[in-house]
């Protein structure tokens, strides 16, 4: 909780500085529009948070996104399937990718980082090979409108999906038995196993969920860009992990929240939007994001925790 207060403060500072740097930033429409570009990261951050809480990691999400996008495009184009059905298929493909990860992680007990490192290369590679490196374009108007249009010209449609996913994730992680299981695995896996926590099943579901959300993001990404590309969201897995870690999820497990990760995504998005509006080059943007990441982690590992503990005890 205290991490979330800290994140809200950072978010406030970011919004303040950005609105000083450019006048367009603080318009409500600008902020809402910038959310459109954060949807994929936001959606994939939800399962990633849960996975990192169990001390796992999923490096294959961005590749799964690309593969499901490409296969969706291929099915739509060459089998003449309805685009929405093809979109559903993208989610299925993503789930399949997640299931394969899950099988190798729990069935063969190979560390998640190794499995997903390999499938990251494999999924992206299959996407590139199938599409020969060329994008698939010409999606129907209605589908593109889903990614590019806004509800009453105000709230981007895809943002609704993000909100739903984040809410469901929040309820599952914080309010359900399944969520308790996730934390207990992160704290002490052996202990959890002896306390009759279905460790294998929980992990299977999490990696499946991660793939499914990556597939959903692949569909949203293709609709937003208006093309399915094999290099979609390249390097995005590390961006998602950055947002999650910035949001206070501990990479050593047992700690983290959906609210924190969502705030992490928002901080990075607003930071980048503001810097874009202020015409700061992309290179400098990544330097700033990196510094914010390392500074905030240092803050809540060393100083922040002690500081907030004092507040809680009524010392300050």
């Amino acid at each position: 909780m205290r991490k979330n207060i800290f994140l809200l403060i950072i978010l406030g500072v970011v919004v303040m500085i950005m609105s000083m740097m450019s006048k367009e930033f603080l318009r409500f429409s600008t902020l809402l529009e910038s959310l459109r570009y954060a949807v994929e990261m936001g959606i994939m951050a939800v399962p990633m948070t849960m996975i990192i809480i169990t001390t796992g990691i999923d490096l294959s999400v961005a590749s799964t996104l690309a593969l499901s996008g490409i296969l969706m495009g291929i099915i739509w184009k060459y089998l003449n399937l309805n685009i929405w059905l093809a979109g559903l298929f993208a989610i299925l493909i993503g789930s399949g990718c997640g299931l394969l990860n899950a099988y190798m992680i729990t069935g063969l007990s190979i560390p998640p980082i190794v499995v997903t490192l390999a499938t990251m290369a494999a999924y992206r590679g299959i996407a590139t090979g199938l599409s020969k490196g060329r994008g698939i374009t010409g999606f129907p108007e209605s589908f593109q409108n889903f990614g590019q249009g806004s509800f009453m010209n105000f709230i981007p449609y895809s943002v609704f999906i993000w909100v739903i996913v984040a809410l469901v994730g929040y309820v599952v992680l914080e309010k359900s038995k399944f969520g308790r299981y996730i934390y207990s695995i992160g704290h002490n896996e052996t202990g959890a196993m002896f306390s009759a926590v279905p460790v294998v099943r929980v992990k299977n579901i999490l990696y499946l969920f991660s793939g499914m959300m990556a597939g959903l993001s692949g569909m949203i990404y293709s609709a937003r860009i208006g093309a399915a590309k094999s290099n979609a969201f390249m390097g995005g897995e590390l961006e998602v992990i950055t947002a999650v870690v910035l949001g206070g999820t501990s990479i050593t497990g047992g700690e983290g929240s959906i609210l924190g990760s969502t705030l992490g995504v928002l901080i990075i998005t607003f930071l980048k939007t503001g810097l874009n509006l202020a015409r700061v080059p992309h290179s400098v943007q990544s330097i700033i994001v990196g510094i914010v990441l390392v500074a905030s982690i240092i803050t809540y590992t060393r100083f922040g925790v002690g500081f907030f503990k004092k507040i809680k005890k009524g010392g300050v």
């Binding site: 990196g290 990441l293 982690i297 060393r302």
Partner: protein, 319 residues
């Protein structure tokens, strides 16, 4: 005695067989595969990432992950090339490339040990920072018109093999020797396999981490120099994704991702195997777009094979 030795070399042995099968298969399909030219290409592609892969192997053995090697590689390659352009003598340029890598690695290490944050998180940030820095520094332009001294490093041939091959593989053999004989590398294994035990026998864990992250930076920097010296121009996105390639090479080579176990020999063969696959795709007439798919599948196969072998061995010993 003999049997124990074969067991010890299990991973390298398997990889060697996979490599031989792969090469014979490609040669069978396309008779022009085995040639001095192909050998040169494969070894050269291996040589430029080999130092970095060795560094990463040691970091993983110490129980950490360094994601910033690709960015350190880029910073080193580009700043060294710029120094060479300014007319700085070549040996100083080489020293710079290693030094700047060591400094950046040391920075990672300092933050990791002072704030007790996993190196993976620290290097996730420094990866972004240094990549951003080098793009800002070069404004995205490529470095061109490199001087002759620079090109000589990459194109001088001894016995038909280029200089980077000789340098990188000698370094590899040297590292095998050092890792076996220097006490500090014993400590690296100790820290990676059991932290508490390492603390109890009086190993200063922070010193080991600092050392290994700096060494990794230096090796990544040196890789950057070797890679840069092969080309007449250096793109500003050089080394993107290197961190995952070298981790993959180490894992294929039998390094345990959880730390404590791994060998330089395995990593060397892992690197060669990965570059052989990329090169053989051309000879098999497979579109280069499938490159990453094959690499990924190979890593998966290697890992699954390893798991099954372990299970089999466990079954044998029980029966």
């Amino acid at each position: 005695m003999m049997k124990i030795k074969v067991e010890n070399f299990g991973r390298e042995f398997t990889l060697g067989i996979v490599l031989i099968v792969l090469v014979s298969f490609v040669q069978f399909i396309n008779h022009s595969f085995i040639s001095v030219r192909t050998l040169n290409v494969i070894l050269e592609n291996s040589a430029v990432i080999l130092p970095s892969a060795i560094g990463t192997t040691l970091v993983i053995i110490a129980g950490q992950i360094d994601l910033s090697v690709g960015s350190i590689f880029a910073v080193s390659a580009i700043t060294s090339a710029q120094l060479a352009l300014k007319g700085v003598p070549m040996f100083l340029v080489i020293l710079w490339s290693i030094g700047i890598g060591a400094i950046l690695g040391f920075l990672n290490g300092i933050i990791t040990v002072t704030f007790r944050i996993p190196a993976m998180i620290v290097t996730l940030a420094s990866m972004t920072i240094w990549r951003g820095f080098i793009l800002w520094w070069t404004k995205g332009y490529w470095i061109t018109d490199l001087p002759d001294g620079w090109k000589a490093l990459g194109s001088t041939r001894i016995l038909n093999l280029t200089l980077p091959i000789w340098i990188a593989f000698s370094l590899g053999i040297l590292m095998i020797f050092l890792v076996r004989n220097l006490r500090i590398f014993r400590y690296v294994y100790a820290v990676g396999s059991n932290r508490k035990a390492a603390d109890l026998i009086g190993i200063a864990r922070w010193k080991i981490l600092l050392f290994i992250l700096s060494l990794n930076g230096a090796l990544a920097g040196f890789s950057g120099l070797l890679s840069g010296s092969r080309f007449f121009l250096i793109p500003s996105n050089i080394g993107t994704g290197l961190e995952l390639s070298v981790i993959a090479a180490a894992v294929i080579g039998g390094t345990n991702i959880m730390g404590g176990r791994g060998r330089i020999e395995g990593t060397i063969i892992g690197v060669i195997l990965m570059t052989t696959i990329s090169s053989s795709l051309v000879f098999l007439n497979i579109d280069s777009t499938w490159d990453s798919a094959f690499k990924g599948l190979l890593i998966l196969l290697a890992i699954i094979f390893d798991v099954l072998r372990k299970k089999l061995r466990r079954g044998e010993s029980m029966g």
